[in-house]
């Protein structure tokens, strides 16, 4: 890549016709205890506070829970789902599920569903200005995050149970129910201070 690759920042779009992979542009995933804010590695706590700030500043924050949180394939999923509901309630955010990844023709109903192959439709239809991807398998999350960044101005947040997402504007890794509860606490603290 060119010399300016390291300056690449993952910010709200629309970035253009085809947004590049942040990983190829030099953004690296965080190590344990760290997170990403707009392509830069930061301590997890800083990202948690930033998430709370972004969610509360949004006109229409929406959470997109994916199959990994809609189905209890792993231990801890039920607890994580309950924590997510608590966070949504604290923020006043709606939830629009990504129930699976199959393309649906002629198209999904963007009022009730989001699909990784054309997530921009749901964001445009609902005028979503901040969103959370959670429980979406990493491949589909990265793919959708790129499409969202390319075509919309939505601010993307990924709460990843694995190692994180460079293509989100804010990304946490190793997210558990307790991590989500920490975001809820940060939201409540911010609201209380307002």
């Amino acid at each position: 890549m060119t010399a300016n690759v390291k300056e690449y920042r993952v910010v709200a779009g629309p970035e253009g016709y085809l947004a590049p992979s942040a990983a190829v542009m030099g953004v690296v995933l965080p190590e344990k205890g760290e997170a990403l804010i707009e392509g830069a590695i930061v301590p997890e706590e800083e990202a948690i506070n930033k998430i709370a700030e972004k969610l509360l500043a949004a006109n229409n924050p929406v959470f997109f829970p994916g199959p990994s949180i809609l189905w209890a394939w792993k231990d801890g999923v039920l607890e994580k789902a309950a924590a997510l509901k608590r966070l949504a309630d604290a923020v006043g955010a709606k939830m629009i599920p990504m129930p699976d990844y199959r393309p649906k023709y002629p198209m999904i109903n963007p009022a009730t569903e989001i699909n990784p192959n054309h997530p921009n439709l749901t964001i445009w239809h609902n005028k979503i200005d901040a969103c959370i991807f959670v429980g979406v398998h990493c491949h589909y999350a990265n793919m959708a995050l790129k499409i969202v960044r390319a075509g919309t101005s939505c601010y993307t947040i990924a709460l990843c149970g694995e190692v994180g997402h460079e293509d989100a504007m804010i990304s946490l890794r190793d997210v558990k129910a307790t991590t989500i509860d920490r975001i809820t606490e940060a939201v409540k603290k911010l609201k209380g201070g307002a």
Binding site: A23, W73, N117
Partner: protein
């Protein structure tokens, strides 16, 4: 083998350990084996569920030996496919089903199966395949040649090139550790120069038989496992490109970008488990040889002889072809006046790769090249070295 005999096999007791322990701490013992036997010994410790074979020279022996592992109880399933394309499709199905799989091919077999390889990458399948390279030109040859690697460069797969049987053994095991990372999860090819490595015997250090790689967890994959017995049954990775509209094109493009990103993320794991994408000797020399596979071994001989003549020559052994060690090579190339790239193929794909990433690439000497089964005597590398100082 009669069914009763197979059923009577007792699975060997091997303790599962994490990759770092397996590669760095587990006890090793020296054995005198061929490259094909090194494949078998790597698979014994790889905790693979399914291996599928189809014969082609010079690969046939390796998968035959892997079949012996089935008889020893180390594999859950092993069979011969109808042809290479069928094998590569079958391993894809097994991998989508969430098990660790292995296969091998080479030369014309690689090309016969070719469509499968980008499909593996697109499917985020962490398959490990050994490619025992050979010529694929007409008139027919079964002899050593690395031409097939040039065709594989843009399939989206990770590519590692073994210099010798020790590399074969280590790279196959380590390839699983790299490919199965959730942020990587694309297939890997371990390339082994046919005959020069597969059919020659050498001393290598192998891990004792009491440990094996820990199990693959398909529920920490970047794509859902195709589990037909658990909800939601049809978590398919359906093609979405059957419509002629921008949404389909956009989704396909974003998908392909994510495959490139996965290969990029592999770098840190290759550094962790392989010790780097390259190995360097004498990096400050004005004359550098940069190459991969058995051309590295031949270059080592040439470098010793050059030293006897008072010529200082360094060496870059390129272990990872995909991802390519772009920054590493750029750094070393800055200091070099000449870069010699010996290759076992006609097209010089490695020289092209190196030329494409450095600005002053007129210092790259794409020679010597041998192909069609020819050996590479160190003398012809030495001749190129001498030309640099004349």
């Amino acid at each position: 083998m009669p069914e009763a005999a197979v059923n009577a096999i007792t699975k060997p007791v091997m303790r599962e350990v994490d990759p770092s322990y397996l590669f760095n701490e587990a006890k090793r013992e020296k054995v005198f084996i061929t490259g094909s036997e090194a494949v078998k010994e790597a698979l014994r410790r790889a905790n693979v569920s399914i291996a599928i074979s189809y014969p082609i020279t010079p690969q046939s022996e390796s998968m035959h030996l892997v079949g012996d592992l089935y008889a020893e109880g180390c594999l859950e399933e092993y069979f011969r496919g109808e042809n290479e394309f069928a094998v590569m499709s079958a391993v894809a199905g097994a991998s989508m089903g969430g098990v660790r799989v292995f296969t091998a091919t080479g030369g014309p077999g690689t090309l016969r199966a070719f469509e499968a390889f980008p499909t593996w990458s697109g499917g985020r399948l962490p398959i490990v395949c050994a490619f025992m390279t050979r010529g694929i030109n007409s008139p027919l040859t079964i002899q050593p040649d690395t031409i097939e690697m040039s065709f594989m460069l843009d399939t989206g797969m990770l590519m590692f090139h073994a210099e010798n049987s020790q590399d074969v053994y280590d790279m196959i095991l380590k390839a699983f550790a790299v490919t199965e990372q959730v942020d990587v999860h694309i297939p890997a090819g371990v390339y082994i120069d046919g005959f020069f490595v597969t059919h020659t015997r050498g001393n290598i250090n192998i891990i004792t038989e009491d440990v094996k790689l820990n199990a693959y967890d398909p529920y920490s994959a970047p794509v859902p496992v195709m589990d037909m017995e658990n909800v939601p049954v049809r978590q398919m990775r359906d093609p979405f490109v059957m419509k002629s509209n921008f949404i389909s094109y956009d989704a396909h493009a974003a998908w392909q970008l994510e495959i490139s990103a996965a290969a990029e993320r592999a770098r840190k794991y290759i550094k962790k488990y392989f010790g780097g994408l390259i190995e360097v000797e004498n990096p400050d020399a004005e004359i550098m040889i940069m190459t991969s596979g058995t051309a590295v071994s031949q270059s080592r001989d040439a470098i010793v002889r050059a030293k006897e003549e008072g010529i200082n020559v360094g060496l870059v052994k390129i272990k990872s072809i995909r991802p390519f060690p772009t920054e590493e090579i750029r750094q070393i190339a800055k200091k070099a006046k000449w870069i010699i790239v010996p290759e076992f193929n006609k097209v010089g794909w490695m020289a092209k790769e190196i030329k494409s990433i450095i600005t002053d690439n007129d210092k790259v000497i794409g020679a010597p090249r041998v192909f069609g089964g020819m050996t590479m005597p160190p003398e012809i590398i030495l001749a190129e070295i001498r030309r640099c100082v004349e």
